[in-house]
Symmetry: C2
Subunit: 217 residues, 2 copies
DNA sequence: CAGGGCAATATTGTTGACAAAATAAGCGAC
DNA sequence: GTCGCTTATTTTGTCAACAATATTGCCCTG
């Protein structure tokens, strides 16, 4: 999977289909017909095939024998499960980040935080939620915990279609920003326990917001 | 993947290769040549190929373009990471199990516990560690948390080659049994927090034992 | 016109052959 | 004997054809 040299077709297929699912070009429940994808991306059917197997293992796709594959649709309940699992793993990552982070790493986190504040001032909600994701990814990266990182990345991908909604919950951006501040602060202090706790609180907040947003429609 | 009707070749390939890795027929670092596996299992190369892609996504196999696949070897450090991630996720599962478990479920756990005590009395260490795994799996099942269940299953598979060693650490079986008792007790009482805590303590204990066993050789 | 079976179509699963790349073997120079 | 190069061999990646299964549309019966 480490692939900077010369991407094999299956690898690019994996990346492109994954992107398409994450950005919403391919919608939940949508059928993923091998021939169609093959033509759309100008890749062989075999490549598409193994990419789909990977994506299924990752939880982004479902399939049944002789009936093809489709984008996995995640119910509200499942989205909450995913967030709960993320809570467990990202708390772990935050703890490690607090214990390992270098001054440069902390500076990166603080810079992202400042940008988030700026976006919020502009009322750019989409920009905020992108920076949100970036902050989380950076914390995981600083943690150096590769095992957690892999799992978290898969979970985040599964949740994207639900999560963007939480930003629309009244008062959520403010609270979210405050929660992120506490996380970064704890990491800056090197206080692992506080960082883990703050991360858990934050994701609990996201879960609450999602419940409210989910009921709302 | 739900497949009781008529397994496709890729599915059986996935299962059989996975089993072979878990039971040690295929050893860490061992090359997984497609043609060989194809002949050994009497399955098409395409099936082997997609199975390997799945197993790589799961973390049991590694591969590089045009250089094939091999059984992923997990270092001591990585094994500890895996246990840490399991700690996070299985604590979550234990909490849910405590809140959801029916009397029947609790009875199942207690029965497993009694069998473990029996095996210990016989000095059957291998039997103990199998029951150990069964107890953990049962707790996860009772939790009803499918998301956590999938991740935990993958993590457990990654760790098997290391974990069997911990049973050999002096005094470990006794302590382990006591830790398991506390977990089951908390679940029986319906005390989610205590169950999560007990599970975390238990896996911390496993990590300690593994560190000691790892240094020992 | 509703429902049930039957043929036509679409799609996936499987097989084999070929191309591309990496690995191993052989050879020569020093 | 060893290093470096060139040439086989092995192995993976890709492609196209065929088989197996599911799905759809159609006709027929009542």
């Amino acid at each position: 999977m480490p692939t900077l040299e010369k991407a094999t077709e299956a690898q690019t297929a994996y990346r492109r289909i994954r992107e398409a699912i994450l950005e919403g070009t391919l919608l939940p429940r949508q059928r993923l017909v091998e021939k169609e994808l093959s033509e759309r991306f100008s890749l062989g059917r075999a490549a598409i095939r193994t990419a789909l197997a990977r994506l299924e293992q990752e939880g982004l796709v479902e399939s049944a024998p002789y009936r093809g594959a489709w984008v996995r649709a995640i119910s509200l309940e499942e989205a909450l499960e995913v967030l709960e699992a993320r809570m467990a793993l990202e708390s772990l990552a935050a703890r490690h980040a607090a214990l390992r982070a270098t001054p440069e790493g902390v500076a990166r986190l603080q810079a992202i935080l400042r940008e988030m504040e700026a976006k919020k001032a502009e009322g750019d909600l989409l920009g905020m939620s992108e920076l949100n994701a970036l902050l989380h990814r950076t914390i995981v990266e600083l943690s150096g915990h590769k095992t957690a990182a892999r799992l978290i990345e898969a979970l985040r991908a599964q949740g994207v279609r639900h999560q963007y909604r939480t930003v629309l919950v009244p008062g959520r951006p403010d609270r979210s920003l405050e929660e992120h501040r506490r996380i970064v602060e704890a990491i800056a202090k090197g206080d692992g326990e506080a960082a883990a706790q703050a991360m858990a609180e934050h994701l609990k907040g996201v879960m609450e917001a999602l419940k409210r947003a989910g009921e709302g429609r």
